[in-house]
């Protein structure tokens, strides 16, 4: 029979048409399939951290996981890209004048599997939670007797958040913070009636349903950190709690939660798998079978700097796990499959604010930062670094290097740091930096690091206070010494409400050290060569020696050190000048934000004498990529994202042309918070019966309202143009020391006994100068 008979032909044609139709139908979905986005690894990115918002609790209702934050209610269903914001987490009650008179907010949310519930600590009621017309609805209140959780007295009482709150077996359980080692700290409440039951158990820090009506829990007595008999650490342990007989027995596995120094109490038991999940501050573990050996199945990019939440592990409808922390919700696989596409970058050294690293990791889902062992809390010393580089065994991709403790020039010269100029974000940022600072990062046109932390130690003055006393602000260190002389000669007695400095200690010693340090700073800023045999140094010493400090040169006695009254007196006075206080650069800006006009301070860089240049050294920690890294590309990308997540004030501080005010993104939220404080106080005032309490509250409310009005104007900006100008004026006088200068500076500080001998009169000024200069000469000779 011919293939081309009628029957076959028809069939073939039909088959071909069908195939064509199938292809045409599938074609549009192919790109979509190819572009299908991977499931998110975290649900908020850095959004919550950027807004200073925190997750406080979560609850699962069917396929949806709800999250309560400090301001909002969110929801996530598998398939969503991120958590979706539903509504505010509070209900404002307003009066006829549209003023907020009360605010009903939720402290925590729960689920009985079918509906969402919420608890308000202020009125101690459990509510059914729903959303209508985009607004939170709190209905069906059930009053709970939470007497054990109330702190304070009368009108000032408040609800102290329990260690954990969870619905188990149809009841709401709460465990209160048991620091007094009470025998019972667990209570349950009937969801319908609110009937309370006290459970005769204590110190169960986390709990999850187990088998046959029992629960797995983490037992840890917070009073018992070390075993007195053995001096060994007492770790939290896995126990089985049976509510039927209120028994708590160690689990047969003897499992201890000792994977991390930071004690985290989170458990989730999956009955279908017979698996237990737990986490530390950085890792997620799974235990199967006998629960003896934990398997690492995921990383958490928190560094322990995140607010840890109890009972923070939830099962998602798509089979993955959600792990709550205060700043984000992380989604992880249940097995080691979740580790396969994770790349770990190791970092040596530490940053003062590690949260920025977490922010970056939330945007770079596949990257996790691990700390090099021994550098979790400390910077590497120069000897440690030298040994690492010598052996070539540097188990780090990124390094945070402090400019004052290590010779950056040398590291760059020897080729240990990677050129970052290829990254546009980094280049864009560094090219805008003040040249006196960027010069330490740039060599031969290449960029070798980013400024991670910047510590400054400015001389800070309070201009308004100077005005009140009718004194001029000094314009040089010599001028400062003149002011000190006037102060000890009688100006200090003019008004007892004022003090020149606030340290309360021996002013003579403090001024000597300050003048020495300023001189060193100046000399190294001016020319990289430190010598004390100069006319200006001798002039400063002569001036200092000529001041008769009298009683101002008295050390604080031991009795005074222990006397709170003495310190109250010292700190109650209004200081005119602050020296020897070091802080991060952004604090120079933010310290003024919440202060009144009289408290506004100004950072100054004073020359040694009028007419001279002024210099101040900057203590910068530089963030770099090591040449020995096998993941250079990723590490550079990470640093590029570091620029994105850098504090806006820091960025603007380094850019001398960035004078536009920086808008406060949390302005509305802060204003609302203030309104809430006032509303809460007004509610307390209405309920107060005692006249003294009423009077106190009225005063507080008046003060708060004035403050609110003042902040309304000031808080609009994180930094105003004036403040930025002040910062730029300070930054333009800053310099980062070269290796040679740093070595001299270190030699000076190492020989503080020599300086002390001069102060004590054991050696003369000439002897001091000769001996110190001899040492410094040696330092410079080594650098030939």
């Amino acid at each position: 029979m011919s293939y081309f008979n009628k029957k076959n032909t028809a069939f073939t044609i039909l088959l071909r048409v069908f195939s064509l139709l199938l292809v045409l139908t599938l074609l549009p979905s192919l790109p979509a399939a190819a572009e299908e986005k991977p499931a998110p690894k975290n649900l908020f990115g850095s959004e919550l951290m950027d807004k200073s918002e925190t997750v406080t609790s979560a609850a699962a209702v069917k396929d949806t996981l709800y999250f309560l934050t400090s301001t909002s209610l969110y929801a996530y269903t598998p398939g969503d890209e991120k958590a979706q914001r539903l509504t505010d987490s509070h209900v404002d009650v307003k009066n006829e004048q549209d003023e907020i008179v009360n605010s009903l907010s939720l402290n925590a949310i729960f689920s009985d599997g079918e509906r969402l519930l919420g608890f308000n600590g202020s009125d101690q009621q459990l509510y059914s939670v729903s959303i209508e017309d985009g607004k939170l609805q709190l209905t069906d209140p059930v009053k709970l007797d939470v007497e054990q959780f109330m702190q304070g007295d009368g009108t000032f009482s408040y609800f102290e958040m329990p260690i954990w709150m969870q619905i188990l077996d149809g009841k709401l359980y709460m465990k209160f913070p048991n620091y007094e080692n009470k025998p019972a700290d667990l209570y349950s409440f009937d969801l319908k009636t609110g009937e309370k039951t006290e459970h005769k158990v204590a110190h169960l820090q986390a709990i999850t349903p187990y088998k046959d009506g029992t629960y797995l829990a983490v037992f840890k007595d917070p009073q018992q950190y070390y075993d007195e008999a053995t001096s060994e650490r007492v770790w939290p342990k896995l126990v089985v709690y049976d509510p039927k007989d209120e028994s708590v027995t160690p689990h047969a596995s003897g499992y201890r939660f000792d994977q991390s120094e930071v004690e985290i109490f989170s458990l989730y038991y999956d009955a279908a798998e017979d698996s237990l999940y737990t986490c530390t501050d950085t890792d997620l573990y799974r235990l199967d079978g006998d629960f003896k050996t934990p398997r690492l199945i995921g990383y958490l990019p928190t560094f322990g700097s995140f607010m840890q939440l109890p009972n923070a592990i939830f099962s998602l409808a798509d089979g993955r796990l959600a792990i709550l922390t205060g700043q984000n919700v992380f989604v992880r696989e249940r097995t080691e499959a979740g580790l396969t596409d994770t790349v770990a970058l190791t970092m040596a050294g530490s940053l003062d604010d590690p949260t920025i690293l977490s922010r970056i990791m939330m945007e770079m889902d596949n990257v996790v930062i691990r700390r090099m062992e021994g550098t979790e809390y400390n910077q590497l010393t120069s000897e440690q670094m030298a040994t690492l580089f010598l052996t070539g065994n540097i188990p780090a991709d990124l390094m945070a290097i402090n400019s004052q403790s290590f010779d950056m020039d040398n590291l760059i010269k020897k080729g240990y740091l990677v050129d970052l100029s290829g990254n546009e974000k980094i280049t864009g940022f560094v090219n805008k930096m003040a040249p006196n600072l960027s010069s330490s990062l740039i060599k031969d046109g290449k960029i070798y690091g980013l400024p991670a932390n910047t510590m400054v130690m400015p001389l800070t003055v309070y201009p308004e206070r100077f005005k009140e006393l009718g004194i001029e602000i000094p314009t040089s260190i010599m001028g400062l010494l003149d002011l000190v002389e006037q102060w000890v000669d009688g100006l200090g007695e003019k008004d007892p409400d004022y003090t020149l400095f606030s340290f309360g200690d021996n002013m003579q010693d403090s001024m000597r050290q300050y003048v020495f340090d300023r001189y060193v700073s100046y000399a190294l800023g001016a020319g990289d060569e430190l010598s004390f045999d100069t006319p200006i140094f001798r002039k400063l010493m002569e001036k200092l020696s000529s001041i008769d400090f009298g009683d101002y040169a008295t050390d604080i006695s031991i009795e005074q050190q222990m006397d709170d009254g003495f310190w109250q007196d010292v700190f109650s006075k209004k200081q005119l000048i602050e020296i020897n206080a070091g802080f991060e650069l952004p604090y120079l800006v933010s310290r003024n934000n919440f202060e009144g006009p009289e408290e506004q301070s100004q950072a100054l860089v004073l020359p040694l004498e009028d007419g001279m240049d002024a210099f101040v050294e900057g203590d910068i920690t530089l963030f770099s990529v090591l040449q020995t890294s096998e993941k250079k590309e990723l590490a550079i990308e990470f640093l590029g994202n570091y620029v994105d997540k850098m504090d806006e004030i820091v960025k603007a501080s380094f850019d001398l042309e960035a004078n536009e005010p920086i808008i406060n993104p949390n302005y509305e939220q802060e204003a609302r918070q203030f309104a809430k404080y006032i509303a809460d106080m007004e509610k307390q005032l209405r309920e107060a019966k005692d006249e003294a309490v009423k009077s106190n509250l009225e005063q507080n409310i008046k003060g708060l309202k004035e403050e609110a009005e003042y902040q309304k104007q000031r808080n609009q900006y994180l930094a105003t143009s004036d403040v930025l100008k002040m910062i730029h004026s300070y930054v333009s006088n800053m310099y980062i020391m070269s290796g040679r200068a740093n070595a001299q500076r270190q030699a000076y500080y190492e020989n503080y006994e020599l300086r002390q001998q001069y102060f004590d009169g054991v050696i003369s000024l000439d002897q001091f100068i000769k001996q110190m200069d001899d040492k410094l000469r040696l330092v410079r000779l080594e650098y030939q």
């Binding site: 030298a386 040398n410 020897k414 080729g415 030699a747 040696l778 080594e782 030939q784």
Partner: protein, 283 residues
């Protein structure tokens, strides 16, 4: 012997392997480092490091001070330990407790000894009070060039016991009859020491001298403890230079300095060794 008993190599192998791995290989590796530029790529620059090093005044200062300190302390320790060993020999069996007392500073960590020394030589310490009592001026032992004195004294005090033990062992091998004969001939103790003792124990004396001199070059931690990384000019040793360069990643300078110094020591000892008598040729 080695041809006949090849099994000997089996016994020697572990020790030789250790020597190779922990001494020979690092020694050769160090030479290589001294010829590189010290960057991550370790490019060869041959003798540029040595040229630069020898022109460096800090290196010159450190080398000079190390040589001076060692040349000052070695003869003192040599003489002192010899005299003490001879005295102990005369005590025969009763010498044991004294020998132990002499050895004790050797066993105590330097940092512990230093604390005592700093108290003794402090501006208001015992030594200065003695000086004042004798009508002399106080000396800033720890803060001036006079620091060399307490440093050398500490070195001698700490190491004399060890040298005494070595001398004592050598003195045991000198027959007593020689001294008896010399006494009969009217030779006093000094003549006996010069004509009998020293010539017979010359190889051992050479060993003591070498050890004392080499150990003297290691005078560093005591000075570092008192004066830090940059002490006074008079006590800034070669080790200070090397230590400071190491912390600044200048490994090529450290190795070049070390090998320069090793060369000097090698030449000096070679000359000493080649001189007759040290090898015992003239016995």
């Amino acid at each position: 012997m080695f041809v006949k008993k090849k099994s000997l190599w089996l016994f020697l192998l572990p020790g030789l392997a250790g020597l190779m791995v922990f001494h020979l290989v690092p020694f050769i590796g160090g030479i290589y480092f001294s010829l590189t530029d010290g960057t991550i790529n370790n490019n060869l620059v041959w003798f540029e490091n040595y040229k630069r090093l020898w022109a460096n005044q800090a290196f010159q200062q450190g080398l000079k001070n190390s040589l001076e300190l060692s040349l000052m302390s070695t003869p003192i320790i040599f003489l002192f330990s010899f005299i003490l060993a001879v005295m102990l020999k005369s005590l025969r069996e009763r010498s044991l407790p004294y020998r132990n007392i002499l050895l004790m500073p050797y066993l105590v960590p330097s940092s512990a000894l230093l604390i005592i020394w700093m108290v003794i030589f402090d501006y208001g310490g015992i030594v200065n009070r003695l000086l004042v009592g004798l009508g002399l001026e106080r000396v800033m032992w720890l803060e001036s060039g006079a620091l060399r004195v307490p440093i050398i004294l500490l070195y001698v005090w700490k190491n004399v016991g060890f040298s005494v033990v070595i001398f004592s062992a050598a003195l045991q091998s000198v027959p007593d009859e020689y001294y008896e004969f010399a006494m009969l001939e009217g030779a006093g103790p000094i003549r006996q020491a010069r004509s009998i003792t020293l010539p017979l124990i010359l190889p051992t004396a050479f060993l003591v001298f070498v050890l004392a001199w080499v150990n003297a070059f290691k005078i560093f931690k005591e000075v570092y403890f008192i004066g830090g990384a940059y002490p006074r000019d008079e006590v800034y040793t070669l080790q200070h230079f090397m230590n400071n360069r190491f912390s600044k990643l200048e490994y090529q300078d450290v190795t070049a300095a070390a090998y320069s110094f090793a060369l000097i020591v090698l030449v000096f000892f070679a000359l000493l060794y080649l001189s007759r008598g040290v090898r015992g040729d003239d016995r």
